[in-house]
Every structure is written in structure tokens, then in C-alpha cells.
Amino acid sequence: MRMRISTISKTKSEVGALCAALMACLCAGAALAATDAPPPDSAKALIEKTVVQVLAVLRDDSRTNAQRRLELEKIAHARFDFRTMARLVLARDWKRLDAAKRDEFVDQFTTYLANDYGNRLERYEQEDVQVLDEQPKPRGDVEVRTKIVGGQNNGAIVDYRMRKGKDGSWHIIDVVIEGISLVANFRDQFREVIAHGGPEALLQKLKEKNAAAAAA
């Protein structure tokens, strides 16, 4: 698994394919690497690749936490479709915002997630992740199932809900941990604020929280 770290080619260009093929020849784990080289990655292959990337960053002791955080944010931006996540979280309230406010909401929500998860990094304790399988879902979505191995959450099931973009590449639109959906959890948290002050009030409150986090 680990040797594929350098197979990060996220483009489906021939160059990427070539590199991957080269890698495949070079490493002992040739069989593994060759499977996800050429065309756009399948959802499962993408998750596998991401797991390798993320674990490599987390295990690299030469980096500071701040550096790791930056690296992970980069990976997250490549893999997650934050705009779709934000829309799903707002559901029908999305329409109540104008275009500018929508963009702003996506930004603020993304920042909020980044702060939230960034703060948990120190807690990494050498868990490993097994990518188990993928299941088709309605609307052409796919759910990739993974399992955490080791650590306190040993055996926990984490599902990645993925959707295919217009360019044919997959992005994560939800993370479901032991049956608990991130999107649903935020939707449930935002519901009351929206019920009382509309999506604008929510946006305002998110900004305040983010500003407070930035100041801290």
C-alpha cells in the first residue's frame, strides 16, 4: 500500500498513466499499483489513493502539525466537493440565498470544517484504514466502505458517499461514521438557527464562529 504514495497522479493524462505504469514496474507492489493507473479512478480506487496520501502525511514526523494541516487541507480540497456538501446541508434553504451569499456560505462552511477537523490532528494514533468495497446508490452515487484498524475506534465503519462530477471524476459528498452522517449532523445542527433567522442568520453565526476560531 504505502509504495503508492507517489502515484498521486490525479489527472488522467497520459503522463499520469505513464508515471503510474513506471511506478508499477519499479515497486514490488506492482500488481496493486497497476490496477488504478489509467482512466479516471473508480470511486473506490480514489479512496484507496486518498487513504495512502493522508496516512503518509499523518505519519511523517518531520512535519509540524501546522504543515500537516496544510497538506491535508490540500488533499481535502481535491477530494471533497464542499459546494455540494454545503448545498445538501442547507437543503431547500439553499435557494433562499442569492448567488453571492451562496458562495460565501460554501466558503464559511468549508472553513468551519477545516478548523473543526484540523484541531483533531494531534489525536492521530497510528490507526490504519482498510478500504472494503463500494456499493451503488441512487442518483448514480457510490458508497465506499472503509474500516478503521487499531486505536480506540478499532473496527469502526466509515462510509464515503461519492458523486460523479461533470468531468467524470468522483468527489466525496458525505462521510458516514458508524451510521452517523456528517451532512445530516450539520443539517440537524443548523435547522434551529435557520428556523428562527433564516439562512442569513446561519451564515452570520458561522462567520462569527470562524472569526473566533481564527482569533484564538
Binding site: 448545498r87 435557494k95 477537523y117 484541531n119 489525536r123 446508490k137 466509515v158 452517523i180 452522517s181
Partner: protein, 275 residues
């Protein structure tokens, strides 16, 4: 963002619940997501959205629940957490895990009873095997060789048993000391206590310190998680409620067994097209 970063979200919420509760995390389940509160159920212009009402949370007792939640939270901050920090300083983590294993193993007969009450013979066999292996080779349950052998720990409880029997969960309910629950899960909590042999044999001056140890140990293992969750949640009450209801729904559904029945949740992923 994988495991480490994201994992905690939900697990944390679930832990938060059971840690506060101290209870072996009993209760409930499911279908709790039905009624909306303060939600105009508009199907609106939206394209494909079938007239399904928005998935929502059934929490008509929210005012009372929030009050009890605040009480539990205070109890935790000013009593349980400080004690757990002390425990954490004295007992090394492997020791804490061993103790947690011990209690989990001791709870296996009760779980086995629930397996049987639900007619899940396969799970009953697993739990029986786990109990036999961990009690012997695992030195009274302090170690967990059964998991290493590939026998996954069970999670059945009487709240789920009631769910399997068709009893609805009822509204979301926060219990003092025990945390997130529902009328069905609260009933299950009582029943599970009655299903525990130690309830009949251990006098209070034995069972109380034992229970205290279990709770403090569990809380100690969750220190970081709860801290992160407290700091991160946009609305902690709503976050815990959402996590609890989803978690219980998922348990009752025995997720792994029937992956294709998530349809009631599909509304969650419906993007009403435009933009």
C-alpha cells in the same frame, strides 16, 4: 482527513452520550426521524424531490431535554471530567483499555440474552464464543483475543430488542445522568439492568464502586474526544441528538446485513437542480 480527522465527529457524539450516561450505552434506535419541528414541510418547486417530507428530528420535549442536557453537561464538566482526568493520570492507557474490556466482557451474557430475544442465533453464537474465549484466554475479559480471532463484538441491547419487536422509539429524551435516550431505550435500560446477573447478587456497596469505576474509566478513555466535540460543535445539543438518533437507527437496522434499505435517508442526498 480520513480516519483521524473525521472519525471523531460522530463517534465522539456517540461516546459523549454513553460516557455521560455511564451506562453501557443502551438504548435506542430509530425511526426517530419523522416529525419536523418548526419545519414548514414544503416540497416546493424542486425538481425530482418526491413529496417526501424533509427528514427531521422528533424532539417535542426539547425545552425539558435541553435543560437536562445542560445539567448533565455541568455534572460532567465539574465532576465526572475532573475525576476522569485524575484517573487518566494514574491508570495508564493500556490498563484503561483492559478495564473497559473487562466490563464489556462482563456485559456479554446480557447481550447474549438480547441476541436470543431477537432471534439472532448467529450473533448469539458469536457472543457466546467471545465470552468463552475472552473469559478464559482473555484472563477474565481484560484482554480481547476474540476480536483478534475475527469475532466482532456484539452490540445488542434491550432497546433494540423492543425495536425489533415493533415498539416505536418515541420522542427524543434526555435522561438525567444517563444522557440521550428515548422512552423505548429508557425502558430497555431498565430491562437490561434486570437481565444483569450482578444486579441480583452484588450488594450495593459492591456494585456502586464497580459501576463508578466503569463510568470513570469510560469517561477517561473519551477525554480527548469529548473535548474536541465540545469545542467543535455548532450546537452541541443538536449535534449529540442527531448523532444519537442516527447511531441508534443504524444499530437497529444492523447496517451491514442489509445495505440497500437506506431509502428513507436518500432524501438527504437530493440536490434540487438549479444553479
Amino acid at each position: 482527513m480520513k480516519a483521524s480527522a473525521i472519525g471523531p465527529v460522530a463517534l465522539a457524539c456517540a461516546l459523549f452520550a454513553s460516557a455521560l450516561a455511564g451506562a453501557p450505552s443502551r438504548a435506542d434506535e430509530p425511526a426517530a426521524a419523522v416529525v419536523g419541528e418548526g419545519e414548514e414541510s414544503v416540497a416546493e418547486d424542486a425538481g425530482e424531490a418526491p413529496a417526501s417530507e424533509e427528514r427531521a428530528v422528533y424532539d417535542p420535549w426539547m425545552t425539558m431535554n435541553r435543560g437536562i442536557f445542560a445539567f448533565n453537561d455541568g455534572l460532567d464538566r465539574y465532576f465526572l471530567e475532573p475525576v476522569a482526568i485524575g484517573w487518566n493520570a494514574v491508570v495508564p492507557e493500556p490498563g484503561q483499555r483492559g478495564i473497559a474490556n473487562f466490563f464489556a466482557n462482563a456485559a456479554t451474557p446480557r447481550r447474549l440474552a438480547n441476541d436470543l430475544l431477537q432471534g439472532k442465533l448467529g450473533k448469539a453464537g458469536d457472543d457466546f464464543g467471545r465470552f468463552a474465549i475472552n473469559t478464559t484466554f482473555g484472563v477474565l475479559g481484560f484482554f480481547d483475543p476474540a476480536t483478534a480471532e475475527g469475532i466482532a463484538p456484539g452490540n445488542e441491547d434491550f432497546g433494540q430488542t423492543l425495536g425489533v419487536w415493533g415498539v416505536p422509539a418515541g420522542p427524543y429524551l434526555v435522561l438525567p445522568f444517563f444522557g440521550p435516550s428515548s422512552p423505548r431505550d429508557a425502558t430497555g435500560l431498565v430491562a437490561d439492568t434486570l437481565l444483569s446477573p450482578e444486579f441480583y447478587f452484588a450488594p450495593w456497596y459492591v456494585s456502586s464502586p464497580v459501576t463508578g469505576t466503569r463510568v470513570i474509566n469510560a469517561r477517561s478513555l473519551a477525554l480527548e474526544t469529548v473535548r474536541a466535540e465540545r469545542a467543535a460543535a455548532f450546537d452541541l445539543y443538536a449535534a449529540v441528538r442527531s448523532a444519537y438518533l442516527q447511531y441508534r437507527t443504524n444499530l437497529l437496522r444492523d447496517r451491514a446485513a442489509e445495505p440497500e434499505d437506506h431509502d428513507e435517508d436518500e432524501d438527504l442526498y437530493n440536490l434540487e437542480d438549479e444553479e
